[in-house]
């Protein structure tokens, strides 16, 4: 902690997208993934590739099937929880900061 001044500035401001992610550390975030997956969990770590470590994760997978008779698309969601999860960044589409409205 030699240069407190330098440290203080980036902590306060959002200059680039990853700053917003940094401000979400230790908060519950929403992550949209490729292949119709969504994650909700507490952000513990990330890097510039958006590799992340999330805690108490709820994963929602959405699959769609075509009904053979009506040809309607039926969406199914499956959920599971994982206590601690490393997520590889290349599957990440978006990261959303915590929803302030919810408790």
């Amino acid at each position: 902690m030699a240069d407190d001044q330098d440290q203080a500035i980036p902590v306060q401001t959002v200059e680039e997208p990853l700053d917003l992610v940094r401000l979400s550390l230790d908060e519950r975030i929403y992550v949209k993934m490729r292949t119709d997956r969504e994650l909700r969990g507490r952000l513990h770590a990330y890097d510039q590739h958006l590799n992340m470590i999330l805690g108490d994760v709820e994963e929602t997978v959405t699959t769609s099937e075509i009904d053979e008779e009506t040809y309607e698309e039926i969406f199914k969601t499956t959920k599971r929880t994982i206590p601690m999860l490393f997520v590889r960044g290349d599957g990440v589409i978006l990261v959303s900061p915590p929803m302030r409205t919810a408790t």
Binding site: D6, L18, R22, A45, Q48, I82, F86, R88, D90
Partner: protein, 118 residues
């Protein structure tokens, strides 16, 4: 179908920083490398094993592996040690009680600050 090989092509020049983060992860998760972790490949297939090592592309070496559903996936019955290409990994389930989350967050903040200065 195609492996989008962003890791190998994209990060070679920045390998140094990457290693440090992976190292942080390894240190703080205390993967004293004896804990069981689960690698979920991008094909809905689960392999459990002991994390032996990770390199800068997040290629993973696992020892003492078990396939979680051998009935459905008998393809690797005779394999006990394996190497998984980083690009095919979607998730790694970590042992939660061995993760020092405070340390992870501190390491992340520190690295974010370092990346700013460059």
């Amino acid at each position: 179908m195609k492996i989008v090989d962003g890791m190998v092509e994209g990060t070679r020049g920045r390998g140094g920083r990457r290693i440090s983060w992976v190292k942080n992860v390894k240190d703080s998760t205390g993967m004293k490398i004896s804990e069981c972790c689960e690698i979920l490949l991008e094909r809905e297939r689960c392999i459990c094993g002991t994390l032996h090592s990770v390199d800068q592309f997040l290629n993973i070496k696992l020892t003492d592996i078990n396939v979680t559903d051998p009935e459905k996936y008998p393809h690797m019955l005779s394999v006990k040690t394996c190497f998984i290409r980083g690009s095919v990994v979607r998730y790694v389930q970590l042992p939660a009680d061995e993760c020092d989350t405070q340390l992870l967050q501190d390491a992340t903040r520190k690295e974010a600050a370092q990346n700013k200065q460059r």
